[in-house]
């Protein structure tokens, strides 16, 4: 996302409501917000920042379908095609006749696939994995501070942006040219 010659201005807030109105004001001025780091999910922040809705639930649905298909093929292949045995008088002539006994497996595998593959997707898309480097530039943002990164440039000078950020209630404003992924 960040190009090499971009200047980033950091604004630190200590209240989620102030941050939220800050985000709105910054965007009204036509400035680009690169990232916001917060210690907890701030309700409405994604909308204020103009983030697209996540499609992870759709992915989970597809994974669930895959799980269901797996369960149907497992039970069909093993119980009906491969060894159509008579076990306690249960009809093994077709899958449909013995289907009620396969419902628990079908259900469990649907949930299993949907849940696990969705969580893997979550890890993958967020680039988080055991031992990854902390993504937040300021350690206080996991405690009680909120950090907004504003991309400098355009019609506004750095000083203007910093003044604006101060006005919105930021407690600390600094220019940071260091790069974050």
């Amino acid at each position: 996302m960040a190009s090499t010659n971009q200047t980033i201005i950091n604004a630190l807030y200590d209240d989620d409501d102030v941050l939220l109105s800050g985000v709105k004001q910054v965007r009204e001025k036509g400035l680009e917000i690169q990232e916001v780091y917060s210690p907890f999910p701030v309700h409405g922040l994604d909308k204020a920042m103009g983030l697209k809705e996540t499609r992870i639930a759709i992915a989970a649905f597809l994974y669930g379908t895959l799980g269901l298909a797996t369960a149907i093929s497992l039970t069909y292949g093993m119980m009906i095609v491969d060894w159509p045995l008579n076990i306690g008088g249960k009809p093994s002539f077709s899958w449909g006749e013995n289907m009620p006994a396969f419902v628990p497996i079908m259900f469990e595998l649907t949930v299993f696939f949907a849940a696990h593959l969705m969580v893997w997707t979550f890890f993958f898309r967020n680039k988080i994995y055991p031992g990854a480097k902390a993504q937040n530039p300021d350690p206080r943002t996991t405690d009680d501070k909120f950090l907004m990164e504003v991309v400098a440039g355009g019609d506004h000078s750095n000083e203007d942006i910093m003044a604006l950020l101060k006005e919105t209630g930021a407690i600390e404003v600094s220019v940071n040219s260091a790069e974050h992924a």
């Binding site: 210690p39 999910p41 628990p104 949930v111 967020n126 988080i128 943002t141 996991t142 009680d144």
Partner: protein, 466 residues
């Protein structure tokens, strides 16, 4: 912005700020364990080791070391299995069902409840393993391609459904719990000063930074997982109940079992959460987060599910009489007046009467009384499983096969061992993990914090004067 009806009592007491929540949650993690912790931990470890000894003895010598016989092939093993699975259910109920219902009071208890789920499912999962005659062949329950012409499993058996249910339940509970823990681990990582501690929490926190997009996905993942975990939790105990309900044994073959077992699971699970949290809030000085209101809410759930269990008991009795099946009628006559009458009547006393005390506000808001009842409920629910299993088996169709069951020290030792193991895990958890989901709790501070509620009240009064 954070409007809430004034009728709602604060869920976070004291004038807490975001930082106060952080500090209060990490205190047990950052401080060293007191002597009392080591004492309790040693006791739990001893019980655990004793249990390990009994398990090894069973596997080495054979299941004949247990009190089972040719009539009663399941007794303490499956009783304990169902009991532990049931206890685990409250954790998922609190974290998933209450999330779907947007219950804010779940936030300070869900972490510990989920931990309890995971640790009790571990205990439960031991029993299907060790009650096998040949545990070293346990991998045969999995449909793995093999050199026997590819010999598969039989998908008709509820015991195989159990394998799928328990492993899905366990693994999904673990990821649900872990995804919630990641932001909290990141918080500990960012505070840690000791290099070793910092490194451990760096690994555990997966590099979490709290970016806006990540929080958006986090909330969606939590919601979908809650949506998946809710039917999962209902299905798991349903499948466990089908171990009995799909049989042909009078006293077992009942269609009421699936919902009735699930209600019993919530009942006993919430009782266990009460037992643990009443101690945790005191020891960790978290009374301002786990308030009397939380305890009261859980008591109401206990009262409700206890009443459902009571209705199920009456339904079973009615249907037994109404069925006109002599075997079914005798099964219930035997429970009430047979050689295990004491187990049946302790079950009835503990499960039917004790939750009814919760109608009285004075009792359900009393910590001492809640603690006492929570223990009683768990004893009662253990007896419920014991009564269902043993009294239905020891006397059924053929009087020539009637027998009795009494446990040996190995049966008892393994049960004690699982209790020890549970507490070993829970005690380790309580000192290394954030026991309250702080990131979630911070989202409700402004709507349910004591100080913010007072502020809101003041504003409203001022507004009213104009």
């Amino acid at each position: 912005m954070h409007y809430e009806a004034p009728i709602r009592k604060p869920l976070i007491e004291g004038d807490k700020s975001y930082h106060d929540i952080t500090v209060d949650v990490v205190r047990p993690v950052e401080s060293s364990a007191p002597k009392s912790w080591w004492l309790v931990f040693s006791l739990a470890l001893l019980a655990f080791l004793w249990g390990v000894g009994c398990i090894l003895y069973t596997i080495g010598v054979g299941i004949g070391t247990w009190g089972l016989n040719k009539t009663v092939g399941w007794a303490w093993d499956i009783t304990n299995f169902v009991w532990w699975v049931g206890i685990g259910h409250a954790g998922t109920l609190i974290s998933a069902v209450l999330l779907l219902f947007r219950q804010k009071w779940r936030m300070s208890i869900n972490r510990s409840a989920e931990a309890m789920t995971i640790f009790s499912v571990i205990q439960a999962a031991l029993f299907p393993g060790i009650h096998m005659g040949r545990i070293w062949l346990a991998y045969f329950v999995f449909p793995i391609p093999n050199q026997f012409g590819s010999l598969w499993v039989n998908f008709n058996s509820p015991l195989l459904w159990d394998v799928f249910a328990i492993s899905t339940y366990f693994s999904v509970s673990v990821v649900f719990w872990y995804v919630g823990l990641i932001p909290d681990f990141a918080m500990i990582r960012d505070r840690a000063v000791k290099p070793v501690q910092k490194h451990i929490y760096k690994i555990l926190s997966f590099g979490w930074g709290g970016k806006a997009k990540h929080w958006q996905r986090f909330e969606e993942v939590s919601l979908v997982l809650a949506g998946l975990a809710t039917p999962l939790v209902l299905s798991v105990h349903t499948i466990v109940s089908m171990d009995f309900a799909t049989s042909v044994i009078p006293g077992w073959h009942t269609t009421i079992f699936p919902p009735y077992f699930v209600a019993g699971a919530i009942f006993s699970g919430f009782a266990m959460v009460q037992t643990l949290l009443i101690i945790v809030r005191k020891v960790f000085k978290m009374e301002q987060y786990i308030t009397i209101q939380h305890i009261e809410m859980m008591n109401i759930v206990i009262m409700l599910t206890g009443s459902i269990v009571g209705i199920a008991y009456i339904t079973e009795l009615f249907i037994a009489w109404y069925s006109g099946v002599e075997y079914e009628q005798y099964a219930f006559l035997n429970r009430a007046t047979g050689p295990y009458w004491w187990a049946y009547w302790s079950m009835m006393t503990c499960n039917v009467f004790s939750p009814q005390f919760m109608w009285i506000k004075k009792l359900r808001t009393s910590l001492m009384f809640t603690f006492f009842i929570s223990i009683i409920v768990n004893i009662g629910m253990w007896f419920e499983r014991f009564v269902i299993i043993v009294t239905s088996l020891h006397r059924d169709y053929l009087p020539s096969s009637w027998s009795m069951f009494s446990p040996t020290f190995v049966d008892i030792g393994i049960f004690i061992g699982t209790i020890g193991f549970f507490f070993v895990l829970f005690l380790l958890y309580a000192r290394t993990f954030p026991v309250i989901a702080q990131a979630e709790l911070k989202t409700i501070l402004k709507s349910s914090g004591d100080n913010y509620k007072k502020l809101q009240e003041k504003q409203e009064q001022e507004h009213g004067e104009h």
